[in-house]
Symmetry: none
Subunit: 229 residues, 4 copies
DNA sequence: CATGAATGAGCTTTCATTCAT
DNA sequence: CATGAATGAAAGCTCATTCAT
């Protein structure tokens, strides 16, 4: 809330203004970054144009200037969020010839990405609440189909080739399984914490979950799970 | 502001002319039912008081009369939603002496419950977006700790007793695993459909997923997964 | 704010209800007492029916039952407030043959009454904001014309008879003078404190003011004020 | 909700057709002026945002644009009101070497200012009902400490120097005395009229009161009041 | 005597957005 | 590129009051 200290004779509105030496690029960027935070925290409906422009220390008007409207901004937010996720995935250096280690690494990566990027989870929830209508509008989004599936596919083939992994598995199912186990833990941690009487935000609880998920993924994949223990 | 004369196309307006026999019971209930639908569809922030009272063919004011405010209404919605889930769980008749069949039934129940009750998923997402603050306010919520965990625990013990199941598993982990695999599929079906290029709402796709989940749960649980095929 | 703890099936609204063993007289009285407090604190417009019935641990409906409407309640509040003031005045035992002492006692009484009964001041301000429309409706109010004027008149006559007081003074002017000096101090103590940089609520500050007022009243009244020091 | 098409009977609606040249200056000012009137007439609680924006022929929204919220507007109203009062005081040209005439002029000014500016009185009453919370928020308010006290102080010194006035008087007490006698008459004129059975709004009644106050102030101040008659 | 239920208008405030320069 | 001004609709909530029993 602005503190109304203006004199009578001055006709200035309350919102601070001033000379802005920022270049266009950083204005757009700071708006986008602010939007990610605000939409992540309050959802698409709860995150208002005003909250965002305020957080970016810019003005409502600039959002319309750069993104057209609120929907356009949200589309940009989704695209940026997916881009970051894919960039992080791409940075994963895996040796496909070590299938078990690679798979373990993929599991660790996904679980930890969700944990470190809670905004990814809430933004996806917002988008799904709106039945995917913004993704549908995005031209870039199509390109962002998760590279992780490709990676998992390669690992599965490699493991199957040497008889370690079951051959009939689909990479898609395995990806969804890992994603589900990581996503749900993060997305529902508040209601789960309430009902399980256990704080899922604690590091040790998360570590146990990660161990369980790794174990369960390997049991799903290995032809001889018993021998893996 | 609702002008009750042009409510909807409803032939029977509430005012005057004797339709006044609407008892408190039905007013409160219809408001609650409408709230479940509206909050499920639009989220907590997107679901307005006006939309709800309109859907219930009642008035804004009555929501405050019966639930205090929007938050109070949402708490009631959560409680009712959990209650229904638990009631459905309680209706599951399982023979603990048949651990594999029981576990399979639990998996099927949870996956299908989420699928048939998409409102459960979106309501929980809303609540988690708000960091569980409403559940925390609910006195009843504490009682609603999922009975499914107890059931799974019994099944696990029974299976372990006869050597079929691994003994070291925790019912909580297994419950979370099943829930995650069902929840994620439903919650994220729109973004997943976009990125996988496959419609997860199709019955056959869902059936395949259910089969995969059942298989994976059994592999996690069985001491001799190979022999189970 | 009511805590919304009601079960789903129960159609009870939030406001507590219960068997009330209170007699009609005390219900009316507690509503009136609550109204005095609430109107005094929040003014006529800021004091809502709901706040009052809540403060009285009764129900909105009862206010309409006993007082007709909000205006009727406010009229009753004014009447009661004046009645109390007059009762207190009537309890003043003055010896008219000691005019200086009597006048000093009247000054002390009025100043201290305003100070001890801040609700009297704010209620009168509310009534004057509304241009005296409620007093005009009151039949009792006419009877409540301040007896203090009569007392002052008697004291003035007595003082004039023995040559102590000026003969040409009107009791009305003197009453208004005393009332003004007491009322203003109490009514405007917050803005005055801010602008004078001095807390008028402090006992010592008030005592000094009382001394000043007493002195000034006597100077107004005495024929030989110099000799009174 | 203001539908600006049927604002009032105003022939020139704000929308379209070129009346858009209304500068910010006039919008803010007309809102402020309207707020003074409305708050003065109905009090802070009774004066609604809608009444004000309507009176200013503007929109609810603009109040929030220029003043943040209702409280901010009221703060601005208080500041403006004090400013006007001080400006008027500053315009008083007094010859300090004529103490009696000067003091008489100050009394006349204050009494007449309250009489001509009833909004000043009701606004202060509103502010005091709210325990001075808005003044406390105002940064400017501190500067507005009444210059009248300084003037009175100078007059008192001058009068005391030539032996006309008592030396021990405090300017603050004398200021409060004059203010009280003027304020009370104006503030409580409706209830007083009812109880005294005399219309205090009549010019002659006011003139008599002014004479009485002038006399009483001089009696308080002069060392030889008798000789002043 | 008393109460639960309901009502319509109003409240302050915030929403996303557009105008005009 | 950018901004100050303006806009209409809708948000959540409270208002005083009445109905029906």
């Amino acid at each position: 809330m602005p503190t109304p200290t203006n004199r009578t004779a001055s006709a200035k509105p309350l919102r601070k203004t001033g000379v802005r030496e920022r270049s266009a690029e950083t204005t757009r960027d700071s708006l986008l970054r602010a939007a990610i935070k605000v939409f992540a925290k309050h959802g698409l409906d709860g995150g208002s144009i005003d909250k965002i422009s305020r957080a970016a220390k810019s003005h409502d008007r600039m959002i319309y200037y750069y993104f057209g409207n609120k929907e356009g901004l949200f589309v940009a937010v989704l695209e940026e969020t997916y881009r970051r996720f894919n960039d992080a995935q791409a940075a994963l250096a895996l040796d496909v010839n070590q299938p078990v280690a690679s798979l373990t690494a993929v599991v660790a990566f996904i679980l930890q990405y969700y944990r470190k990027h809670p905004e990814f989870v809430t933004l996806l929830n917002s988008e799904n609440l709106h039945r995917g209508k913004h993704i549908a509008k995005s031209s870039k989004a199509r390109d962002y189909s998760s590279p992780a599936i490709g990676v998992i596919d390669a690992v599965l083939r490699s493991g199957a080739a040497c008889g370690l992994f079951r051959a009939e598995l689909s990479a898609r199912d395995l990806y969804m399984m890992i994603a589900a186990l990581g996503y749900f833990y993060q997305s529902n941690r508040f209601t789960l914490s309430a009902f399980l009487g256990e704080n899922l935000e604690a590091q040790t609880t998360f570590a146990q979950w990660e161990a369980f998920v790794t174990d369960t993924v390997l049991r799903t994949v290995l032809t001889q799970p018993g021998s893996a223990d």
